[in-house]
Symmetry: C3
């Protein structure tokens, strides 16, 4: 059913975006069409990655998921960087972190908790994730923010580059840890092994690669159109760069993922649902963000890893809240509501800012 | 014995406050008399609420405790708002949070720990509380503080109103969670069930309601007198608004509660003692504070949910310390001493500020 | 083998420092010679303390370790204070905290984790330590920082003195808790009992005391020489006070300790290794730092307990990271890498600052 929805979104949306791009349709219409198309395309990318992962076995599969999981966001961000809108990129990274940690996890806990009194997920995974979350947000994001206050721009950029390289290396080392040296220790990868061996992939290897390539190229094209509508959004609705990035771009870029996390929670597969939400956060913070810092060096304007103070404070608060709620390996509807309420408060804050 | 003390405080204090109000006694004497009377009256309100709670069964009883638990503080704060002293209200909210988390919990752990080598309390309760504590202090209090730095006054107030509404809804949802959907899961509510069914209330329903009404009205009258003495305190002792609110008002408003938390700890009922201290903190942060924000809208000066930086930092530090010390479900005298030392440091800080 | 290295460092280094002091050798050479000598001397002090501790039984032994564990650092800092370089003292305290928490613990986890898949250490110790860590860093260090922003210098100093006294009292109370009222509860002290009763001390009581005295006096002499070279370091290498203190002084002052913590980790004595690293951090924060505040009152320039913002933020982030990684009582190589990466990021930050 969901797959059919994604198909409709893509096969109606993309041609219209194409038409609009040639016929110069109004920014408002283009914005809506681009969003719809991207959400649909994310669905296809997700399915293709999953099929490929099953065919390739758990190690390469884990790597594939880890690389293509946020491909859409990466592509949108690169086009936004190309258009010189560094502020929106940082804001959309913030939005991804907040959206995954508070909105997706919150709705998953809530929706699952309505059906089940208590749901369990792997404590080992939760601990692995919470350690990296503190590292990424409270060390790697906070340090450049605070230290840059008494640095010039070039030094700040140098510090950002250093941190970006360390983040990427640590992210890869973490994959090595989970997929090689300590495989089987983690509940989720453990289950994947069982399930994947039984599971048959939806698509063949050939078809998966083809879909992945086609969808990725199309996302790139649509993203370029989308980015051009941002200015209009600011003027027409009075939305700030911050609000566009934190709320709009983040939701569009992660919509497909959000839907599957919540679907899994209702099926009581809380392990995978939490992994999707928190794992995706870590991927954004430790992989997408530093890659964008490095990519920005060949772009019109370099991007230092320096968020605005409200962005950073929101991410730190969200991280502490999620770590605290997850450290017992259990969830219920009320914990979901707490997370959702935190997202709401931050959303209102960014709207008013 | 304690009850007799409260009786003496009330039946000596209240008539003297009345006399003083007509005869225009000096502010210094009035301040002392008001404090004495309020401490005594809080004792009566506490006993009446408890009796009513036993009669009404655990659900309505829980609701009653949750509503009247900080009635005295709410009343003092409303009169302080009426006098336009917004700073003192925010400071006394801070003081309540710090007093409950550090002073009461600290003295409970310490006094109980002198008698017992280790004391246990419910881990489930501790987790429920710590999640809400992070939500209330680190999300709901920190966000308006940081975001308001680049907002005008009206926008800050709008943000505060939004957050206040979310806090109250979440607080009520939490009661629904604890008393309805997940009742019996929590150790303390569980025990209440057993104990309350055996326990006979001290007063009849009729007498309880009468005492509650009378004491509440009297507290309102005395509070009005008390508020008028604040200005003098500042001039005479050189105490700042902050110190008066954080230390003086907070201790007077919570004295009766403090005594019973410590008494319970010595009786090794650590579950109830922790619930009193931390539960009361949450009530102040998620119920009293947002209600005061809403009430302030019809007062001379509206109150945004924006604390001073020292107030906020002290509350964040206290929350992190308490969450860390409570997350093993055990206490001892040294943990009590740590909490007390933290209170002392903050007390000295606010005195010097 | 390690002992022989320390012997060479001392018997080659100290005479050369002596010679250099009389012959006015260049600052660059003197700096290297002083560092070498101090590292060697720390080794001797460590061995003498250990022997004395074994002879004196676990209680007095614990006290000895707790007092002489950071003797070298204390001495260097006192001479730095005497030279009026308050900034370097605060920076070296920061460096000690960061070095112990991130570098030593990180290398211990990593080196041990290469050999063993998972290593365990006492959860009770970890909890005791994490509570004090939050108290020391997030309460006792953060409060004067934030509150001093609106205080004059004298008030800030008064607040610092108050906090220093509270820190020392709480530190001593903690020793009383661990060594007297709750002895045997803690895994590490428990093991010490067993091991120490079997273990024979390396040196006799007489020899230990002699070595301790001689080494301490020599450290004092060498420290005085070392301090004089700091100015040159700044000019020659463009290193800031902050970098000299945080990285250089901290590593030299703790080198001997670092080596033994890592050696113990490889031998799978993770309990003792963690205790060395985190225990030493607490000793610096709760004993060395406040003593330096009090000592500074009779020095040319008094030292308030006010770190720079980057120093404080780095310590808070490091504490939260370590508490999170340690609260499961387990370690592996990847957790070690996370800690080391955090140290690297901060090191780069302080270098660029």
């Amino acid at each position: 059913m969901l797959n059919r929805l994604f198909a409709i979104l893509v096969f109606a949306g993309v041609p219209l975006v194409l038409a609009g791009a040639f016929l110069n349709w109004s920014d408002m219409i283009m914005f809506v069409l681009c969003c719809i198309s991207i959400i649909g395309l994310s669905g296809y990318i997700g399915r293709a990655t999953e099929s490929l992962a099953i065919v390739s076995g758990p190690r390469i599969g884990g790597l594939l998921n880890a690389t293509f999981g946020n491909a859409v966001e990466l592509i949108i961000s690169i086009f936004t960087l190309k258009a010189g809108m560094v502020g929106i990129v940082l804001a959309s990274l913030t939005g991804s972190v907040l959206g995954n940690l508070l909105l997706v996890l919150g709705l998953s806990f809530f929706a699952g908790g309505i059906k089940f009194k208590r749901q369990n997920f792997s404590l080992l995974d939760a601990r692995y994730n919470s350690g990296l979350l503190i590292f990424a947000v409270i060390v790697a994001f906070v340090i450049p923010e605070i230290f840059s206050m008494s640095m010039d721009e070039q030094t700040t950029l140098n510090l950002s580059i250093g941190i970006a390289v360390i983040l990427i290396i640590l992210y890869l080392a973490g994959l090595f840890f989970k997929l090689v040296t300590h495989r089987g220790v983690f509940a989720s990868s453990d289950k994947n092994v069982d399930e994947e061996e039984e599971e048959t992939p939806e698509w063949t290897k050939r078809k998966s690669i083809l879909v992945l390539l086609l969808a990725t190229v199309t996302v790139a094209f649509v993203s370029e159109q989308l980015v051009h509508t941002f200015e209009m959004l600011g003027e027409k609705f009075g939305w700030t760069e911050l609000f566009i990035g934190v709320i709009i771009v983040a939701i569009v870029g992660n919509a497909a993922e959000h839907v599957s996390a919540i679907t899994l929670a209702v099926k009581n597969k809380m392990d995978v649902s939490v992994e999707l939400a928190v794992g995706s956060t870590l991927q954004v913070a430790m992989f997408v963000a530093p890659i964008l810092v490095l990519v920005s060096l060949i772009m019109p304007e370099p991007m230092a890893l320096v968020f605005t103070v409200p962005e950073l404070v929101a991410m730190v608060a969200a991280s502490l809240l999620v770590i605290n709620l997850c450290n017992d390996g259990e969830s219920n509807w009320f914990e979901g509501l707490i997370l959702f309420a935190a997202y709401l408060i931050m959303g209102i804050g960014f709207y008013f800012l």
